[in-house]
Amino acid sequence: MVGNFPIAANLISFFTEIGALSHFAGRFFKELFSRPFEFREFLRQCYQMGNKSLVLVGITGFILGLVFTLQSRPTLLEFGAVSWMPSMISISIVREIGPVIIALICAGRIGSSIGAELGSMKVTEQIDAMEVSGTNPFKFLVVTRILAATLMLPILILIGDLVAVIGSALVENVKGDVSFLLYFNQVFEALEYSDLLPATIKSFFFGFAIGLVGCFKGYNSSKGTAGVGKAANSAVVFTSLLLFVLDFIAVFVSDVIYG
């Protein structure tokens, strides 16, 4: 029956996937609070994720600030509102574009590498070998990676935002003759608690989603090298989709709260 309706079949497999993912998340929370905690592996993952993504996040943030400012400048000029630039930039980037773009970049960088790494560990029986060695592979591999991504994403997003503002300041400095110091002052003045807090909370969720889906896809990857590629690829696709859904929810919730 369902086979005749590809959309229905896709929807069903999508919701089956969501169900399995929730189950996986449940297991994460269960194992998170049972001892022992693999602290060294957690630190190693934090370091690796930061190390792997920092340059990418920096470049993306810089270009984002640069381009965004260059593009909106003519319009603001037209209305004689160039002085609004700092507040516009700070709010749009810190609140929305920064977290989403950087989370997407990290989904590509971190999510796919978790998917590929765990996938190949699964296929080559390294996960079985851990189990046999008396180490719980879920704790050692999954819990540490999800936690590390949850912690590192807000940090990476903060850095990306900062670099974006620097990029924007550079444009205003060259084109608008505003000093860096003045520009930064204006940016921070424009920022409010109600901009920063939801954005930060959101970025924890983004990090969690990236770690969770990457681990889920890798840990459940099917046999063979094709399975590894598929795990990495579908981790990115699925995470990206999830990031937009989460973002929508976050915006909706903070709109309700802050009116």
Binding site: T124, E125, M130, S133, T135
Partner: protein
């Protein structure tokens, strides 16, 4: 040693592993059907069977990586199907497992690979003891100089030897070897076989060796079991099976 003497060596000893009425299927695909076997103390038991006949599935059931559909598996007197996680881990500390593809952790150095099984005893281990055990294990396989290399920097044969060292580092009572010589040249294969024999002599282990390699079976087996048509099809010494009148059995020894 004469074949019949090798076989007698296992008589009168108690089984370390005993499998009764084991069934295992994946969906429609029945892999094991009423499989029975025993492994005795100090014995080298070779398990032969065609590719895809379920040899790896069998040993994964024994070590608790897969759950059988029905049947009982006793390892060192304990029924593994009813064991709790904690008890299972304690039991696994007595068992060494050489995976078919070596399964070295490729993000870790050789040293870290060997230290990994020692984590389960981290409360009892200090730095020096860990170091000594790692060095002893590496020297057993003649690869002390690879300590700080990554698995990717080693040849396939060296990886197999490191995997062997890792499986043996806790001096297990029972060792499973899943195709220890497959994919190696005859000379390296022979080295691995000699290593396995050394280990057996040194630590008095019982081993279950899965292999397609007739030479390996000839040298190492006290007893051979043929996994065929989803079950324990024939059992005996190398000479008994290789001169069997059943053409299906004989075919394995060509």
């Amino acid at each position: 040693m004469d074949d019949s003497v090798k076989y007698k060596a296992t008589l009168g000893k108690s089984p370390v592993i005993s499998i009764k009425g084991l069934n295992k299927s994946f969906g429609e695909n029945v892999v094991l059907n009423d499989f029975n076997m025993e492994i005795f103390e100090d014995e080298n038991l070779v398990l032969m069977g065609k590719s895809g006949s379920g040899k790896s599935v069998l040993i994964k059931c024994v070590i608790g990586l897969m759950e059988p559909d029905s049947g009982t598996i006793e390892v060192l007197g304990r029924d593994i199907i009813t064991l709790k996680q904690q008890e299972m881990d304690e039991l696994r500390a007595e068992i060494g497992f050489l995976f078919q593809g070596s399964a070295l952790y490729d993000s870790m150095t050789v040293r870290e690979n060997l230290e990994f099984p020692l984590r389960r005893h981290r409360n009892k281990m200090n730095g020096n003891k860990t170091k000594d055990l790692v060095m002893e294990a590496l020297e057993n396989v003649g690869l002390a100089h690879t300590l700080d290399l990554m698995p990717a920097e080693l040849s396939g044969g060296m990886q197999r030897r490191i995997a062997l060292a890792r499986a043996l580092i806790l001096k297990p009572k029972i060792i499973f070897y899943d195709e220890p010589t497959t994919g190696l040249d005859p000379i390296t294969a022979k080295e691995i076989i000699l290593l396995m024999l050394d280990v057996q002599k040194k630590y008095n282990t019982s081993s279950l060796i899965i292999t397609h390699d007739v030479d390996c079976a000839r040298v190492i087996a006290n007893r051979i079991i043929l996994l065929y048509e989803k079950t324990n099809y024939a059992e005996g010494t190398f000479t008994e099976l290789s001169t069997s009148s059943d053409p299906k059995v004989k075919a394995f020894f060509k």
